[in-house]
Amino acid sequence: MSRLVRDASRRAATPRRRFGDAVFAWIARALAAVAPLLIVGIGWQLVRGSALTRHAFGWRFLSSSAWDPVFSHFGAWPFLFGTLVTTAVALILAVPLSIAVAIFLVEQAPFWLRGPVGYLVELLAAVPSVVYGLWGIFVLAPWLQRNAEPWLAARLGWLPLFRGPAYGVGFLAAGLILAVMIAPYIIGISREVIAAVPRAYRDGAYALAATHWDAIWGVVLPAARTGIWGGVMLGMGRALGETMAVTMVIGNRPAVSASLFAPGYTLASVIANEFTEATTAMYVSALLEIGLVLFAITLLVNIVARVMVWRAERRWGGRAA
């Protein structure tokens, strides 16, 4: 609203109206405070609930590989390892592809195709996690076991990553599914920030005899870099916390393994699988501490991601997210 009208309105306000507006403002503030309060509440509940194991194991909880509910020895390392490996696999696969798709949608695709392809990309994000998991169990994992993993082992078997028996379910299956699931988030943000790069930048590049690709690679992508990294971080946050699809295809074995073919476990999956079975107070506390670790990591990643996306927005005055 324009300053003139606002000031005039304020001067004209009677005490009663001023009171009404103050009540409205405070109700709105109080109810809007639910979002920040939820974040504080989640953190607090997890800290409180994990007191037993935090005091019993301290920081060793993160580095220990013990997971023995019977004797109450708990360590999160195999789960942390699984989360980090599956996320890394997902990012390595999804980031270049997603940026390429964003370039295609902004720079290359004929106009009639942009809407439908954009819709299909959004549909990737709308498919429920548990349906990805169902497909992973019955289609992807058997295919990996029979075809893809033996093929990889035969050609890249000199790398420890692609050695060992082909289980089908494991780090590779989880990473592949995650790559597909996080791609729409990276594409969405990248697409916005690439589209927000001013026309003049491209024109400048063309004036220097750049080809279309030269302009994209040399000018547009560097200008959109901050926003794209923000999108990548957002995708990373999704991959770290994704639960159902991963739980269904990772094999659920708390083991640290160099091979991507091997079954593993992640922070989110162990909570999903074992929380309702946790009978002792220590066991519940260990799972809540795993939740705390997961929450802390994703909180950090999301904060960094948002700051990056916001900086990109402010730079071009667009609204990317």
């Binding site: 405070a33 990309v121 159902m244």
Partner: protein, 290 residues
Amino acid sequence: MMTPAPAADRRRLRRRHWRSRFMLALTAAATALILAPLFLILYYVAREGAAALTPAFFLQTPRPVGMPGGGMANAIGGTLELLAIAILAGVPLGLIGGIYVAEFRRERFASGVRFAADVLNGTPTIVVGLFIYAVVVVPMRRFSALAGGLALAVIMIPVVLRAAEEVLRGVPKGYRDAALALGASRWRMVAGVVLPSARVGLVSGALLGVARVAGETAPLLFTAFNNSFWSGYIDQPISSLTVQIYDYAISPYASWHAQAWAASLTLIAIIVGIGAAARLTFARRRKGMA
């Protein structure tokens, strides 16, 4: 005055143009590659799901393995009940949060709320499940539809908040000025002019939030839990399509697998339907404003 480029320069230029074309073709290939899994998933869900979609699937409750028939009527009903609870709790909070962030955007706290909503939106849903377990399930001493619905509401709030903010920002400045110039107080302006003119967009934002949580499984595992029977009670465990898909998918029985596919097809149809409704209402709004 131009001098003709030497042959070597011309060759280099041609090579650069070919490279440009090649790289851009690669981006098209990447798009095809990313969409391939989507088509594969939709194909399998349609093929396997359609084969298992029988009237019994929609009309009966689960039966033990080996008994013919059995369906997911209670899971469909449970999902709808959970969504209703989530809408009742999540939409008003998200909406008012969005109104606050849009109408008081100059306040420092407004950017804080927006930031918190974005962070909450990225919080793993299984962690939200743990939170609701601690604050609802433990005090009530049982899994319940209420706990499940509240978990979904927590996930829905930031989605609705941000969508509402976007829609409200789109309301023309002149509307607000006109209302204030007529002597309306601030809240009269919001309630009487801004909200009604943004009504359709707000509905579509709420639908987006519903579509986002309709496919959630992880936050329900230890809040709503599951139930093999019909239950409308808000303080009792309740079944949902997603948890039922998970339970059946990891079971060893082919007949349960078939039902999991059928449930997936039903679920995707519900989510795409809600999304289409959101799109249609939004398209109507745009046409109305043009």
